[in-house]
Symmetry: C2
């Protein structure tokens, strides 16, 4: 089962806020519902929210009541702005919308346009699966038999259409017969590690141990971690990595212990335009911190910080695992991806 699928009656997604307790499918019949799903993190993970935005544009085109090309394009432009406003940090969202826009700005025929956009969005989902498989294969070469591997958040099949980026590497190493033990930090506030990564690894029978986020130093100090592999929401041309809040701390601790630290991501996460300082880090609502599973844990009226991402400077990375191979410092990802879209 894929995280997202284009169907005749709309876009079907797995509701990730209900996992691991319940497997619920949400049928998004219009783009607004899909955009809301991204905001609510019913669907989350940089690669798949790119695909979701693309399918959202296809859905908007299909549902548009515009009679002329101009009217349809105006509607698609509105839908595109709507998606851009959902989550600012993941590069993939903007990448997907730019790619879809290239198709619709030049379109000459309304019915062709709808078909072309649907075809493109579906193709992007297929590409994402192929990318993850290639990332997995490329990254698995870095994993040794017997490794303890620390991952973070969920960079798994649920963050992508299928298979995953960091979990793609782990899956591929496991499938090739390497004995590995994965350490999974729970990843507060929304517990993507405890809920989603634990769910995926358990389903695949890959051995793992769940920890709280503050145990990372302890397991490194005790020699349990040989490699760190995380995902990425946005990677600058020079190799700075934006990923789930907490990634930077893990990278610092890995450095202090001499443990290799890798980010795994598809080209759609690479940002050739902005510098690290220009990237916007999404701030989410305080209730994600003051409440867990809808139960208040902190006193009423406390102030909180809730940045959803942090920046890991390139100096802390041992390499960036992509579908084209592994990039090593000094990074220039524009060269690395020169033949791409």
């Amino acid at each position: 089962m894929r995280t997202i699928e284009w169907k005749h009656d709309g876009v079907h997604i797995i509701d990730q806020t209900k996992l691991p307790g319940k497997l619920v499918i949400i049928k998004c019949k219009d783009y607004e519902r899909l955009a809301r799903a991204i905001e609510r993190m019913e669907i989350r993970g940089a690669p798949v929210i790119g695909v979701a935005a693309a399918m959202g544009i296809a859905l908007a085109a299909k549902n548009s009541r515009g009679r002329t090309l101009v009217e349809i394009k105006k509607y698609l432009s509105k839908a595109s702005e709507h998606f851009k406003a959902t989550r600012p940090t993941a590069r993939n969202l903007f990448w997907a919308l730019e790619r879809m826009k290239k198709l619709w700005v030049g379109a000459l025929d309304p019915s062709d346009l709808v078909n072309d956009l649907i075809k493109e969005a579906v193709e992007m989902a297929e590409e994402d699966v192929r990318s993850c498989k290639a990332i997995g294969k490329n990254g698995a070469m870095l994993i040794s038999d017997g490794d303890g591997i620390l991952t973070y958040c969920n960079a798994g099949g649920l963050a992508c259409v299928d298979y995953g980026t960091a979990l793609g590497v782990i899956r591929s190493a496991f499938e090739s017969g390497k004995k590995i033990l994965v350490y999974v930090p729970e990843t507060r506030p929304l517990l993507q590690g405890a809920r989603l990564t634990a769910f995926e690894l358990k389903s695949d029978g890959i051995p793992f141990k769940l920890i709280t986020d503050n145990m990372v130093g302890y397991i490194m100090q005790n020699g349990l971690v040989d490699k760190v592999v995380v995902g990425a929401d946005r990677i600058t041309r020079r190799g700075d990595v934006f990923n789930k809040i907490g990634t930077y701390g893990i990278a610092l601790m890995a450095k202090a212990h001499g443990i290799p630290f890798y980010a795994a991501a598809p080209y759609s996460s690479v940002d050739l335009s902005l510098t690290a300082e220009e990237v916007i880090i999404e701030k989410r609502k305080p209730e994600e911190i003051t409440h867990i599973t809808n139960v208040r844990i902190a006193p009423e009226g406390v102030e909180v910080l809730n940045p959803a991402f942090d920046r890991t400077p390139r100096e802390l990375l041992s390499g960036i695992i992509t579908e084209r191979g592994v990039a090593y410092p000094p990074y220039d990802l524009s060269i690395f991806f020169r033949k791409s879209h």
Copy 2:
């Protein structure tokens, strides 16, 4: 209101598992109930569980149905072993039991013994308050006007009889008129930061922001932290600090950012006998990780790690704040405390 008080009808403690939602007092009429309170962490924090164990021995003496000194001492010995088995890492528990034992092993008269033990336990509570005030005063000299201060877990009045160690430093700096802003990591699994430290700071009107444990790197990278002040459950003679799981990671991150990192603790936390390698780190039950506020967050049947403490090596500390002053490297705390008990 103190965290623990000796009363005519038993030992009264604030139930810390119910905070911040409810202020519930538990009346422990026998030592077994008090030992259970330590195990369940209804009372927690190294300094105060030392005092609790001392009051537990006094309670055992008062309740003993032994008719001879030999019978009473046998009962006290049993109670002492019972307390030792509750939580292995905090030094203060063992320190308090040793101090009480010195009184009862040499006792010659049963009724004097009961009175002497009660008097000693009550005196230890008073000493703890005086120590915290002195720690606060000594530590406040390290804090500058305008500082952002990161603390961790709860080393506050609730971890002691009153006032607190790390929070004693923060309280003292605030009372002396310094403008400070405190950052409070929630401290999974049991959320002592979000529940207890937030409760204490809010009650005192000290400005603070609550964060998740994985935001420490982010706030340091963004220049928000000028000093780190944490408590300690056990400090070896050479200055290695055992404290709540996650402390080590914070110390590593502080080092990477050049931020001074202090531990604040009374003499009762200092261990002159064991080396860092010999200290036992308590492992607690998996449900603390897989459940939050009694709601399951992880899939059924996952394996977890749950060490309650970690070790911060002396190299990462800028100083150790005690009631006698601030110790700086190279640490030899046996000299520092040479005139003490």
